[in-house]
């Protein structure tokens, strides 16, 4: 909403010398947020009114003329121009030496064809205005001024280019502030000055509207009121300058007096108006009804629109003349030869206008206002104001009588003023009289303890709303700061603590945390080679996504991590370690249920000396830190995203899956344009936490020496060493302190299909030093257990 300061001053006596920053700040702080302000003609300086004394041809030039111009200085100024519409006696804008014009143009004296020129005569465009602002001017040529002005006068005041336009950002609850009168009331309350809002008055009327027009409102649900007046003997011409100036400062293009009046009233009262040419209303009757299926109208923008039955239209006996509250039809609009005009001021249902406007793909200043829900009480004063302006502009004769149709309850809402509650709510101590004064300044009526809310303040319903009205004028920043009463102890939940632990573990392993989008492309499932029948293909789908890339909520975090690796790989970062704690979204069978949002720890590695065992080492460290005991890893060859020979699933002691780790399948890496090997692990946080046991107990440090036995074993090359290790541990039993694999060998000394694996077994008893016999016994048990697995001894030490 752009507000003309000149227009505002019609209502409130705002000092012309007030610093605009101060004005804007005060309005913002009382609730009408100012986005900025613009001084008209701010880029124009050094331009004055000049009177042309003589015009002579420049020698050797077809077009150029040299003018002597009186600019109110002792001597005339000589200026050369190429325009052909100048003549002695014409008053023109003269940009003197040193003047500035819009677009950063600077005027300097110089010579044209050897003739000295001490400035420039300006066209209308050069001053940054248009022929809409000055309808008598021409576009190609010098702006010949027809304004009452003095030679030497600064051009700003001479042509009224000295208004300030303030841009307000009005919140959706304050549709009442989308007009001059609404903001004037706010300014009046903000600065504590009276608001001079007069009721419109029509001096002279002739004839009877009943002889011209009949109005029938068929749909009284969507049309809360419909008022009309008729103006006859209309003279279509440009509006006077003061009106054009106000429109211009409000960002509206002047057109002609009748159209300008409807726009002026809309800006002033906030109620959109419409003007019909009576000739075009067949049968002299306006009907407000729903459109018929397939009915068509060419709107003012020249586009033919197909209407549907839920849309409200303004019709004559035969056809639609306007889409209610959205836009008029081209056939019923004001023409240059229009003689009799019907003014409509109505209030249409906001939701209906919004739906119609959206369905037609047609938004207008009018629809934007109706959508917000207007006060039907404003329509009649707006209609009267339009007629008042017709008289003031001598644009026609107002016909007597008014057609009114009202279908709303005009009762004002009543709220009981409880000043104690308000003060307790705000933490302030404002005297009741002060509250009453503030409320009255905002046009609330207060009678005893009963507040009557103005009908255009649909946002005010409760005492909390009244508290806001009071405190925003009283001053938000006069509210003191107090500390919260009552003690409260905040503690992280076990899940939050566990999450911190996982963060710390991931960081300690040199991983950088990433944040990736929760939505992905359905194609990312293809990229990780997810089987077509995988249940994870079923995801929460966004009905109105921005694009396919962000159209479904991910059911796996793996593609997101691969995107991160790919991005870094392709940015030539040679290696990376990443982690994310992020959600997967698993839909329910029943789509009316919310999906499960399951947090996952995802780890991704690539480049450098990272390999599968780096990732596995991280998994081990993580599980150890998380206090997960007795977990096992099993090779996994059937997860299509992973290398079939380099992937493992980790199980908790009770058999639940704790995660999967592996090298990404070369085809998948290729799908993500990752040129090297990369490794991803994914761990459901809930499963990790369930398996975690953070209880730690001190175990006395060993007092007796350990005994070590090394075994070199021979087994099938395919046998996982983890299985051997597990068998050794079981066979050694309680005295087993550690079992470490220290060598794996396949080659010349070993028969094909076999491998040699060497373990170092450390045994220790809490009761005493183990004897050689005890140690040898343990080793015998180990070997007999291993024999059953097809593992034989190569050498022992």
């Amino acid at each position: 909403m752009n507000l003309s300061m000149r227009w505002l001053r019609d209502y409130v006596d705002i000092n012309k010398d007030m610093d605009m920053r101060e004005f804007c700040e005060a309005m913002t702080m009382s609730g009408s947020k100012v986005e900025g302000y613009e001084k008209e003609g701010a880029e124009v300086s050094g331009v004055v009114v000049g009177e042309i004394l003589s015009v002579d041809k420049v020698e050797n030039s077809d077009k150029l003329v040299v003018c002597q111009v009186n600019v109110g200085q002792e001597a005339p100024v000589q200026i050369v121009t190429g325009a052909n519409n100048v003549f002695p006696g014409a008053k023109v804008p003269v940009a003197l030496h040193g003047a500035t014009l819009p677009g950063g143009v600077k005027i300097k004296r110089g010579k044209l064809r050897g003739v000295e020129s001490n400035g420039m005569l300006c066209s209308i465009a050069e001053l940054g205005v248009t022929v809409h602002d000055f309808p008598y001017a021409i576009e190609d040529g010098i702006f010949i001024l027809q304004e009452p002005c003095e030679v030497g006068q600064d051009i700003h005041s001479a042509i009224g280019l000295d208004d300030v336009s303030v841009e307000f950002e009005i919140t959706p609850n304050r549709a009442d502030c989308l007009c001059v009168r609404g903001l004037a009331l706010e300014a009046s309350a903000t600065f504590g000055k009276p608001c001079n809002a007069k009721e419109p008055q029509i001096r002279q009327e002739s004839g009877d509207i009943a002889d011209y027009l009949k109005v029938t409102v068929e749909n009284q649900e969507l049309c809360k009121c419909y008022h009309a007046k008729v103006v006859k003997n209309v003279k279509i011409e440009p509006s006077p300058r003061w009106l054009r100036e106000r429109l211009r400062a409000s960002g509206v293009r002047p057109i002609n007096n009748l159209v300008d009046i409807t726009n002026y009233v809309m800006l002033e009262y906030g109620n959109p108006m419409h003007a019909f040419d009576l000739r075009t209303i067949a049968g002299g009757e306006i009907v407000v009804r729903n459109a018929r299926e397939g009915e068509r109208i060419v709107t003012l923008d020249g586009v033919e629109r197909v209407l549907s039955p839920e849309m409200l239209v303004i019709c004559d006996k035969e056809k639609p003349s306007a889409v209610a509250g959205v836009m008029g039809g081209v056939s019923s609009g004001i023409m240059d030869d229009t003689t009799t005009v019907v003014f409509e001021a109505a209030c249409f249902d906001g939701k209906s206008v919004r739906l119609t406007s959206r369905k037609l793909g047609l938004r207008s200043e009018s629809s934007a206002r109706f959508e917000k829900g207007l006060d039907p009480n404003q329509a009649m004063p707006a209609l009267m104001r339009a007629c008042e302006l017709v008289e003031e502009l001598h644009a026609g004769e107002v016909v007597g009588g008014v057609i009114t149709n009202s279908f709303f309850d005009g009762e004002k809402k009543k709220i009981t003023l409880d000043s104690d509650w308000i003060n307790a709510f705000l933490g302030l101590d404002i005297p009741k009289e002060e509250m009453v004064r503030i409320l009255r300044s905002l046009a609330f009526e207060v009678d005893g303890d009963v507040i009557s809310v103005p009908t255009n303040r649909t946002d005010v319903e409760t005492l909390a709303d009244i508290a806001e009205e009071v405190v925003r004028i009283y001053g938000y920043n006069r509210v003191p700061s107090t500390a919260l009463r009552g003690s409260a102890q905040a503690r992280p939940t076990p899940a939050q603590k566990f999450e911190s632990l996982v963060h710390d573990a991931a960081l300690a392993m040199g991983c950088f945390e990433v944040q990736t989008y929760s939505f992905v492309s359905p194609k990312s499932y293809d990229k990780i080679r997810m089987p077509a029948d995988s249940p994870l293909r079923r995801c929460v789908e966004i009905r109105n996504p921005l694009g396919e890339d962000t159209s479904v909520m991910r059911t796996t975090t793996i593609p997101s991590m691969l995107d991160v690796i790919a991005f870094n790989y392709n940015n030539r970062n040679p290696e990376g370690r990443f982690y994310e704690i992020g959600n997967e979204y698993i839909p329910h069978e029943d789509p009316s249920q919310l999906p499960d949002e399951n947090a996952q720890l995802t780890i991704g590695l690539y480049g450098g000396d990272n390999d599968f065992y780096t990732l596995k080492g991280m998994a081990q460290s993580l599980l150890t830190r998380a206090g997960v005991r007795g977990w096992e890893i099993e090779p996994c060859a059937d997860e299509p995203a992973f290398h079939p020979g380099r992937c493992g699933v980790i199980y908790a002691a009770d058999g639940t899956q704790l995660g999967i780790i592996g090298e990404i399948h070369p085809l998948v890496a290729d799908n993500f344009s990752i040129g090297g090997k990369c490794y991803v692990g994914r761990f459901p946080m809930a499963a990790l936490m369930a398996a975690s046991d953070m209880e730690r107990k001190y175990v006395p440090l060993p007092r007796f020496p350990a005994t070590t036995r090394d075994l070199s074993l021979l087994c099938d090359a395919d046998l996982p060493v983890g299985h051997i290790e597990k068998a050794i541990r079981q066979a050694v039993g309680a005295v087993c302190e550690s079992v470490k694999l220290f060598d794996v060998y396949q080659g010349a000394q070993i028969e094909a299909g076999k491998k040699s694996v060497s373990f170092s077994i450390v045994m220790r008893s809490r009761e005493g030093t183990l004897t050689d016999e005890q140690a040898d016994n343990a080793v015998r048990k180990v070997l007999s257990a291993l024999e059953k697995m097809g593992v034989s001894l190569r050498a022992a030490g």
Partner: protein
Amino acid sequence: MKEALQKIAQEAKEALQRCQDMKELDALRVRFLGKKGELTGILKQMGKLSAEERPVMGQLANEVRAEIERELSDRQAALKAQALEKQLRDEKIDVTMEGKAVSLGGKHPLTIVLDEIKEIFMGMGFDVVTGPEVEYVRYNFDGLNVPESHPSRDEQDTFYIRDDIVLRTQTSPVQVRMMEQSKPPIRVIAPGRVYRTDSVDATHSPLFHQVEGLVVDKGVTMADLRGALEAFAKGLYGEDAQIRFRPHHFPFTEPSAEVDVMCFACQGKGCRLCKGEGWIEILGAGMVHPNVLKYCGIDPYEYSGFAFGLGLERIVMRKYGIDDIRLLFENDLRFLRQFSE
């Protein structure tokens, strides 16, 4: 015999002084003091001496032994010191060479700042709670007093899954869930991801993070809201931080305010950072709307409360001077490193 002892002492002294390494030193020890050494050899002859001479010679022999031992140990100490000196000299390295760094990894800047914010509010007794990102319309809009016709409900602003399920556009639905689930007093913050249909550019992202705050109790005032947010601003920006409340509108609070912090660069005078305003908007806040309390089954005449919501990305970007929100979700290692290295 006396002469022999003195000779040994003299020879030992000279030999020890010439001795240059530990091995030789050991040999000297054996030569002079060993079981078959020179001194022992002489002492074996003690039996031939008279009873008067024996104690005198015995004493002299002990003196010589003590002297040789002393010389020996002195020499040993000197040689050790020499050897150590040589070792240290030989072991000299170039300390300006690159160290063997162990990467400590690093949190994402969004998490770093969120941790800080959580810490501040937990210090004021706010528990940290969460709510679902895929959310019912009744929590995201209805329960928050958002009118049917409010533009934020449009598909142009909100991602819809179905007519009644959306990707939450704000963390505020957690307010409704909290008030439905638990009885006052309530004092929580709820950080999390939110979604809006903004196309990606330098300042917009369809996914971003908010931190919601909610306090409900008997007698909670707007002054308490101001106090809590002032404490937060001081916690985040330092003791000198100043805030101001600017009237605004949110459907779920009344009165509502946008909260600005005085520009740290210019102290309110107006500069490039604050676009000449002197103040920088950091969050939205207000007193919980009576309709919201009622919706959640809380009597607005018995209880009151305040709520606030802040955008994490904006705070993070300002804190670190990040000028493009996309950087936060691209996860370039060269970017991520900057916040912890």
